[in-house]
């Protein structure tokens, strides 16, 4: 059965990694969300949304990001959320949790020696958390492969 998916990621390498996973989403209704409006050209006409970026360095932007993520969740009403990080998608996972939405956190391949800070929180709230490095796999953090 066709499912409604929200595939979201911050900018730069996070979104590049998400796009390398596109074959996994084929046949489903996929909505993409990221931080740069220019990235719309990358998703081949699929529904596309943007949110304001935030990181630990500019935490005061957080309310803006939370607002954007709430709007996206209300618009898309996803059955499944898939993300390659970083902090803004973690907010989506947190907000989705009370509604029983299935969520997948794929920690960035950049985190080769330890799970990211956001990943550490994601493992407590996501349905499934993945690392892209076999050596970092733990009982609650699986390794299914990597984008490279």
């Amino acid at each position: 059965m066709k499912k409604r998916l929200l595939a979201l990621a911050s900018g730069g390498g996070h979104f590049v990694q998400l796009l390398r996973l596109r074959p996994a989403f084929e046949g489903h209704e996929v909505h993409y969300a990221t931080v740069h409006a220019d990235s719309r050209a990358e998703v081949g006409g699929a529904p596309f949304h943007t949110f304001h970026d935030v990181s630990r360095a500019d935490w005061w932007r957080l309310p803006l990001t939370v607002f954007d993520i709430v709007v996206i969740l209300l618009k898309v009403r996803p059955q499944i959320i898939i993300t390659t990080g970083a902090l803004p998608p973690l907010i989506a996972l947190l907000l989705a949790r009370p509604f029983g939405i299935k969520t997948l956190w794929i920690d960035s391949i950049a985190n080769s020696e330890t799970l990211s800070g956001s990943g550490q929180m994601a493992r407590k709230i996501a349905t499934q958390t993945l690392t892209q490095w076999p050596a970092l796999a733990e009982p609650d953090v699986a390794y299914w492969g990597s984008v490279l």
């Binding site: 390498g13 996973l21 074959p23 740069h36 299914w144 490279l148």
Partner: protein
């Protein structure tokens, strides 16, 4: 936009003044080369090199594909773009110790991914310039080609997750 001889990128998320200053210095030493730097939100504006703040993804890929040498931070967007384009990459890892990122993970990336053929790591700004000169003079084998998408085993596993109840 015409692809430069040397395309430099700090990525799209955070400034990286050390890389911008080093490569602007390189542009001053080598006026025969066209150097274009994507400086992101950085405060330092190059005076010898051309610069842009941020480019749409398609233009960015065209710069990487068309340049003679690609120089960047050790970010996954830059690394994956270089590998996909078959373009050698010279990277300078961001250092948390210098306030350039939240953690020291770019050192780990340089060590664990930067060891692939066609990828080159500079330990500091002086090493960056030496390696840039050497790569321009003698070249480098390109990164090994990869498919457009992640391995099928990985994407199939994610598909199973999506389709299971």
């Amino acid at each position: 936009m015409k692809a430069p001889d040397i395309y430099v990128s700090v990525g799209s998320m955070m400034p990286f003044e050390r890389l911008v200053r080093a490569m602007d210095g390189f542009a001053a030493q080598r006026p025969d080369l066209d150097v274009l730097i994507q400086i992101g939100r950085g405060k330092t504006e190059p005076v010898h090199a051309r610069f842009v703040r941020l480019m749409p993804p398609g233009d960015y890929r065209a710069m990487v594909a068309g340049c003679r040498l690609f120089v960047a931070h050790a970010g996954m967007g830059s690394i994956i773009t270089a590998i996909e384009a078959g373009k050698p990459l010279l990277m300078l890892p961001r250092r948390q110790a210098l306030g350039e990122h939240n953690t020291e993970h770019q050192l780990a990336t340089a060590q664990n991914i930067g060891n692939r053929p066609g990828l080159h790591v500079a330990i500091d700004e002086a090493d960056l310039i030496v390696r840039a000169e050497a790569l321009l003079a003698v070249g480098s084998p390109p990164p090994a080609p990869i498919a457009r998408f992640a391995d099928e085993g990985f994407t199939n596993h994610i598909r199973c997750f999506i389709e299971s109840d």
